[in-house]
């Protein structure tokens, strides 16, 4: 006899509650704000999809989104190849392995606002070591507080410094899992180093690299703390990335409705790109 009852649901309940308070309630609050207008005192007016339309048509949003995509694109095309190159040149065995791993992990252990503050001090002209070196030793005009290009270079370099290690560690994990026999077989087959990389190392790293790219995409697309501390979005709006702009609208101007609509659009874009990328990368494996 098979007994059927619904008792199992009780066991799921704690998780459901947790997820509800963690995710569902905050998101629904945002959804709630995104379709209403408020002037304070807890009085709300129905606004429909006006805020969404306003955000999607706004030049300011387009500009921030463009900067955001540019930033993410730049750090990905630098961090992923650089991470792979560093992982390839790390020793596979011996006493230097733990040393390399710890050195690699260090930047990731530093709190984000500290990273921003560190680079701020490091890069400021006159005060910072980098700023002093560039301006007074090399004679290059480098001032991230005045020059948008310098500001961009600084936030990109900062992110590369902070997060390339993640790609390195994941790629390295993929590399050490390759048995020696593969390299020996490749030697016997007369494969060039490039072919070893192309047909052995890269395929074996594919899964971990997919995860690395996904994580780096999501993190960099949502980045806030480090550029906020470093440049505050300036000079002008030149480094105002999406999340910085969002906080300006929500807390600076206190436009809760448009800010809520913008966060939902922002969330949808992150989700869509991640999903597309993951589906494309794993499509071959299912075949």
């Amino acid at each position: 006899m098979k007994t059927e009852n619904q008792r199992a649901w009780f066991f799921v309940l704690p998780v459901l509650l947790l997820v509800a308070f963690n995710a569902l309630v905050p998101i629904m609050t945002v959804v709630n704000y995104s379709v209403q207008e408020t002037f304070g005192n807890n009085v709300f007016f129905w606004q429909g999809l006006d805020w969404f339309e306003q955000i999607l048509r706004s030049d300011r949003f387009h500009a921030a989104l463009g900067r955001q995509f540019l930033f993410t694109f730049l750090i990905l095309i630098i961090e992923v190849p650089l991470g792979i190159i560093i992982a390839l040149s790390m020793p596979r065995k011996g006493v230097w392995v733990p040393v390399c791993l710890v050195l690699m992990a260090l930047p990731m252990l530093i709190p984000w606002n500290v990273v921003g503050a560190m680079w701020n001090i490091f890069a400021l002209p006159k005060i910072g070591m980098l700023g002093y070196f560039m301006n007074d030793v090399l004679g290059v005009n480098y001032d991230m507080t005045q020059d948008p290009l310098a500001a961009w270079i600084t936030i990109i370099v900062m992110d590369v410094w902070h997060w390339t290690s993640l790609v390195v560690l994941l790629a390295y994990a993929g590399l050490v899992s390759i048995p020696d026999a593969y390299y020996q077989a490749a030697k016997i087959d007369g494969a060039s180093p490039w072919k070893v990389f192309r047909y052995i190392q890269l395929p074996k790293m594919k899964t971990v690299l997919t995860i690395a790219i996904l994580l780096r995409f999501m993190d960099s697309f949502n980045i806030y703390t480090e550029p906020f501390v470093l440049t505050g979005g300036g000079p002008g709006n030149s480094t105002t990335l999406l999340s910085i702009d969002l906080v300006k609208i929500a807390l600076g101007q206190f436009d809760l409705g448009p800010a809520a609509a913008m966060s939902l659009i922002y969330f949808a874009i992150t989700l869509l790109v991640s999903w597309l990328f993951y589906t494309l990368m794993t499509k071959d494996d299912a075949k």
């Binding site: 026999a181 020996q184 077989a185 016997i188 007369g190 072919k195």
Partner: protein, 384 residues
Amino acid sequence: MARISLSGLRHSYLPNPSGPEDYALKSIDLDWEDGGAYALLGPSGCGKSTLLNIISGLLVPSEGRILFDGQDVTGLPPDQRNIAQVFQFPVIYDTMTVRDNLAFPLRNRGVDEARIAARVAEIAEMLDVVEMLDVRAAHLSPDNKQKISMGRGLVRDDVNVVMFDEPLTVIDPHLKWKLRSKLKELHQRVRATMIYVTHDQTEALTFADQVVVMQDGEVVQIGTPVELFERPQHTFVGHFIGSPGMNILPAAEDAGRIVFEGQTVALEGAVIGSGGVTQIGVRPEFVTLAEAGVPARVRKVSDVGRHAVVETMVGDTAVKAVVDHADVEQGAEVYLAFRQDQTRLYRDGWIATLARGAENTTQAHGAEDSVQARGSDSASEAAS
């Protein structure tokens, strides 16, 4: 194709080896005839994979030389030696199709496409993988992956030697014999020199014409499967080959007689040498339960199908006998008879009796015995 000679080969994984115990390979001198099917047999850690990697060029030996057809290749990297190696775990290029996998070694050497297509078709037909040529190699089953690894070795027709490093380890038992007979068939078709490394005696004995038995970095015996079975040069070979292995019994020399547990045992021929630790070696297949002989007590009888293994105790020594019908029971008192022409004496592990009839001929060995004699030569060298 080439004749491969190893001369004075020694290898140590340590930077400054001092004693013989630091060497993974201790003085190897071997000749592999062109087109032969060889097996390299020995327990794990005996140095057989080291030897294989030295022949393929993945390792450079500490001392000694490797000659392919008289040419010194000791310093050459693997890709310039024209060898092929199949590893324990199938190595395939996941992202390529089976066809591209097979073509890979040829493409790397700049062979023209028409020639590649012809060779790949030929090898695929030989391996029965024609219908999978356009499948991505990652989707194959382990035995097919291993076939492709072999195919990459065989696709080059100028290959000097194909080496197999325990290639059937990851293959399901019911597919093992299929792949093994495929290998044997391939050898007959391509006539390439093949060296097959294994610790499984069945694999070695079924595949090879000549088996090289290794222990602790030394070659103990080289011979045909029959020779290894019938006349082991060393107690290790006797024990390692055969199921159950040879009975190795403690024996004393007493005024020309060989005594085991108080009983005089008749040997195949004259005893040579003197001193050292002496042991009698006789295979369970040549031990019979008889009316008279060495008294023993039956400890265990196991029926293994075609025959039964009777385990007996003579004093404190276990002696096994393989009999057709086990009509004795546990605890029974029996007498054991050793077939004289299959009972040998070993001194310090090495054989110390002359083969029957050997004492009559002035020449130590006839033509048909040359391989075995070579085995015993290298055996006595290694012993000294």
